[in-house]
């Protein structure tokens, strides 16, 4: 406890550094996964291959990736770009499957109606399919976000500052409180990012918020009594 009080500055710096690595990686994951998922859901034959490749990428051990990636990107091992790129790669690999499923699950009725109203292909995607896939996309993104936040500390082994530094430093110097505060702060960051995403979702998808509040989405009161019984 004393160590924590004496090192509030270090912990705060490490927390900001942690966020500064995690947030761009999460945004990158989402932005890249959407077009890939679009291809996977639009062209059925590509789906199997794309999801397989994504699965394989996710299976690459993280430490070697942090070391190999600079050779491809031409950055230094300790560069933030390197770390964000590696985290983003895992995020994309995870997000693509969620996003492809989310886009597939949008009701055909809504898409047919949009086409029949005279939506062009792009407009239909951004104005109808993407928003309607929103809740499922958000569910996937929350998993990706938490997973990214908890993956960041690995980069401390390369000497990049984040809450992971508290772990490596704590282990080396035998300061138990430092290790604990690193773990605790990582959990806090993960929860904060998760709550942030939920709030963002409610802001962007007001129709969902109403549906959840009323709890009356697709079932009548009678359905609920039957299910409960």
């Amino acid at each position: 406890m004393k160590w924590i009080l004496n090192n509030v500055g270090t912990i705060t710096d490490a927390t900001w550094a942690h966020l500064w690595l995690a947030l761009p990686a999460i945004v990158l994951s989402f932005a890249l996964a959407i077009p890939i998922a679009w291809v996977a859901s639009r062209f059925r034959r590509s789906r199997f291959t794309l999801l397989l490749v994504a699965g394989l990428i996710y299976a690459i051990p993280s430490l070697p990736l942090f070391i190999v990636l600079p050779l491809i990107l031409g950055t230094s091992v300790r560069s933030l770009i390197n770390v964000v790129a590696a985290l983003g790669l895992y995020g994309v690999a995870l997000m693509v499957r969620y996003a492809a499923d989310a886009l597939d699950a949008v009701s055909n009725d809504a898409l047919l109606a949009a086409t029949a109203m005279g939506y062009g292909a792009w407009r239909r995607f951004f104005g109808v399919q993407l928003p309607l896939a929103g809740p499922a996309l958000l569910a996937g993104l929350r998993v990706v976000a938490v997973s990214t936040v908890s993956l960041v500390p690995v980069s401390a082994l390369l000497g990049v500052n984040s809450l992971g530094m508290l772990l490596t430093d704590g282990f080396q110097r035998g300061i138990f409180a430092e290790v604990l505060s690193g773990i605790g702060a990582t959990v806090v960051v993960a929860v904060a990012v998760d709550l942030g995403l939920v709030a963002l979702g409610q802001l962007l998808m007001p129709w969902e918020r109403l549906a959840l509040r009323r709890g009356a989405r697709h079932s009548t009161a009678e359905d609920k009594r039957v299910v409960a019984a």
């Binding site: 009701s107 009725d109 809504a110 047919l112 109606a113 949009a114 086409t115 029949a116 109203m117 005279g118 939506y119 062009g120 407009r123 109808v128 928003p131 309607l132 929103g134 998808m205 129709w207 109403l210 549906a211 009323r214 009356a216 989405r217 697709h218």
Partner: protein, 264 residues
């Protein structure tokens, strides 16, 4: 006027949805395509706004082949009302109705104002304007669907079993409203249903479509009822032996003695 000229539609697996069908739907009239499920009537309807492309033949609107028109522009110029309303679940009632005008670039405020006016036209309380589709009853959703179809003031309205999913009382209500609207608006309506009673109620002209997208008979309801051309039509109209009715006291009964109606 909508004209189908020798249209066929076959799918890759060899099924023939429509075969060499020719048909004219007159302007300002309700033409009802009626037939059992899978007979190709919806396929026909969708050829008009190019949701389906015929394998051969042409569809013309006022003598212009729809194949020569930009599909997106074409669809914005034709009202479309579908079963289960097809409302966009993430848009409020007023925004759903205003969809097509907004796609066409009408300023949002103006489009919404017109949408609220249309709500009254189709018998919806304007207080429902800010509700989402799932907050409306089935009948209200279909009214919103009809309002949306009318929003851009199209000459043509395509209606694909629009009242199929609501209960009989609401359906009768919606049918009456449609006839009242048609009296005022005089649109060219192509209406698809599997319910012969609905076809008789609504149609200025009825086209009975048999399996494989072939016309069994067409004409006014009275013509068809008076002179069904073959057994298929007779059965479809419910005029076959099993429905030869007779009067028993105040009741009208079928051959097995079941009451099916009452004398007025």
């Amino acid at each position: 006027m909508i004209e189908f000229r020798g249209v066929s539609k076959s799918y890759d697996d060899g099924t023939l949805a429509v075969s060499d069908l020719s048909l004219t739907a007159a302007s300002h009239e309700i033409t009802v395509l009626v037939g059992s499920s899978g007979c190709g009537k919806t396929t026909l309807l969708r050829m008009v706004n190019r949701l389906v492309t015929p394998t051969s033949g042409q569809v013309l609107i006022d003598d212009v082949d729809v194949a020569d028109r930009n599909p997106v522009e074409l669809r914005r110029s034709i009202g479309y009302v579908m079963q289960n309303s097809g409302l966009l679940p993430h848009r409020t009632t007023v925004d759903n109705i205003a969809t097509v005008p907004m796609l066409r670039g009408t300023p949002v405020r103006e489009a919404r104002q017109r949408a609220v006016d249309l709500m009254e036209t189709v018998g919806l309380d304007p207080s429902l304007a800010r509700r989402y589709p799932w907050q409306l009853s089935g009948g209200q959703q279909q009214r919103v669907g009809v309002a949306r179809g009318l929003a851009a003031d199209p000459n043509i309205l395509l209606m694909d079993e629009p009242f199929g999913a609501v209960d009989p009382i609401v359906r009768a209500d919606l049918q009456r409203e449609l006839l009242r609207l048609q009296e005022e608006l005089g649109k060219t309506i192509l209406f698809v249903t599997h319910d012969i009673a609905e076809a008789i109620t609504l149609g200025d002209k009825i086209v009975i479509v048999a399996n494989g997208g072939r016309i069994a008979q067409q004409g006014t309801p009275a013509e068809i009822m008076a002179n069904p051309v073959d057994d298929f039509v007779t059965t479809f109209l419910g005029l076959d032996e099993s429905r030869s009715l007779h009067v028993d006291g105040d009741l009208v009964v079928d051959p097995s003695g079941r009451p099916v109606g009452r004398l007025a």
